[in-house]
């Protein structure tokens, strides 16, 4: 399991990294924690001639919290997300979800930026970011631009990010105080990707619901959120069941996945409601 040969680059600034990407073109890829990309390279499913390692880019590290929003650098690891008490107080659903990703070793190196940029429907953070109505800041050689997480995912591994753009930061509006939350995930074993997962926020007359690994993109359903906001749990579940489109694979046949999706969603709604005040 040895990947193909490539040239390794370690730029010192986002500008330099973006310059490298635009100069090297299609054959270059950025490397964050490498815990999605390196497995793909070992299987020779990703073949590239240049790797641009982002680990020295301090501009893409750190978590900033204000009264109205949270900004997370793309290179922040899952481990750092979990360890940050101020973040857990401001947006507790992030720690709850991050603790359900992979295992300790993967969480030490896997980054939030890599998780959301990857485009794998199995990744947990994209659905969570849609639930939270996050915005991704991406930077090419020109000015940066903002892309809403709900408009970012086009199909498996295809996103609104251009090849030469780097995802630098994630901006999340802080949910109102007293908002109930839950991230619920069904997996075959610890460390596995979701058979189905649900992210739910509810409270103060508002709600947001997103599902993971039940389609080739995360599924955020506006109708489901509206129904839950008005107290209609059955309407919420029905809207989600209408929006998901699971495929038959090693995690089970379509019927099973739909069953699991319903269970997981109901559990997430129950827990979120019990936490709302």
């Amino acid at each position: 399991m040895i990947p193909g040969a490539f040239e390794y680059h370690r730029p010192a600034s986002v500008a330099e990294a973006a310059g490298l990407l635009s100069q090297l073109g299609d054959d270059a890829r950025v490397l964050a924690g490498g815990h999605s990309l390196i497995p793909m390279m070992k299987l020779r499913m990703a073949d590239l001639s240049h790797l641009v390692d982002l680990q020295d880019l301090d501009e893409m590290k750190g978590i900033k919290i204000t009264v109205s929003s949270v900004t997370i650098g793309a290179m922040v690891t899952q481990h750092e997300l979990i360890a940050d008490d101020a973040l857990a107080a401001a947006v507790p659903i992030i720690r709850e979800a991050a603790l359900q990703i992979a295992d300790p070793q993967v969480r030490y190196v896997g980054t939030i930026g890599g998780n959301v940029a990857n485009g794998d429907p199995g990744n947990d953070m994209p659905g969570l970011m849609q639930c939270l109505n996050a915005t991704y800041e991406v930077q090419g050689t020109e000015a940066s631009r903002m892309i809403n997480a709900r408009e970012f995912y086009e199909s498996a591994y295809f996103t609104a990010r251009e090849e030469e753009e780097i995802l630098t930061r994630i901006h999340i509006p802080r949910p109102a105080g007293g908002t109930g939350y839950a991230y619920e995930k069904q997996k075959r074993k610890i460390g596995d990707y979701a058979t189905a997962a649900a992210a739910v926020l509810v409270g103060g007359g508002e709600a947001s619901v997103a599902m993971t690994n039940l389609s080739d993109t995360p599924v955020w359903s506006q109708d489901a959120g509206k129904a839950l906001a008005s107290g209609d749990v059955e309407g919420c579940v029905a809207a989600v069941m209408g929006a998901i489109d699971p495929a038959d694979d090693m995690r089970g046949p379509v019927e099973f996945k739909k069953h699991v999706a319903g269970m997981i969603l109901r559990r997430a709604i129950d827990r979120a409601l019990s936490r709302a005040s």
Binding site: M1, L31, L51, P104, Q105, V106, I190, G191
Partner: protein, 164 residues
Amino acid sequence: MAKMHVKMTVNGKEVEALAEPRTLLIHFLREDLNITGPHIGCESSHCGACTVDIDGKSVKSCTMFVGQANGTDITTVEGLTNPDGSLGVIQEMFREHHGLQCGYCTPGMITRAHRLLQENPSPTEEEVRFGMAGNLCRCTGYQNIVKAIMASADMLNAQKEAAE
């Protein structure tokens, strides 16, 4: 492809070498440095047999390129023995509590347990199981591994107290 120059500290010693950028850290450690404590189990990021400690983080060294580890400080199971070469506390507790059978997973288990106890010196049994979830063992059924780590925590805490 041109080789790159890498420099890092491994078990307290500075090493410098030329390596192909696609070299995985586990292969670099085992084949270039002859540090064969970290094992290759699955080679696909699942089993944790290749776990090493890099700048205070437990990392699966089969899922990191050597260039990513350039400039870092690495500890492997070899680096966890006492200065006189005798077994360190966690190693000794694994021996005493039969925390291994074939021993294949053990270097990864011990290296991971080391970091876990640095971060959480008095874990509950549940915290040990959650913190060790990235390491698979096909022999022991985990019971004695958990016991060995709980005993290590007690021993390390007692040593710390005695030193104060």
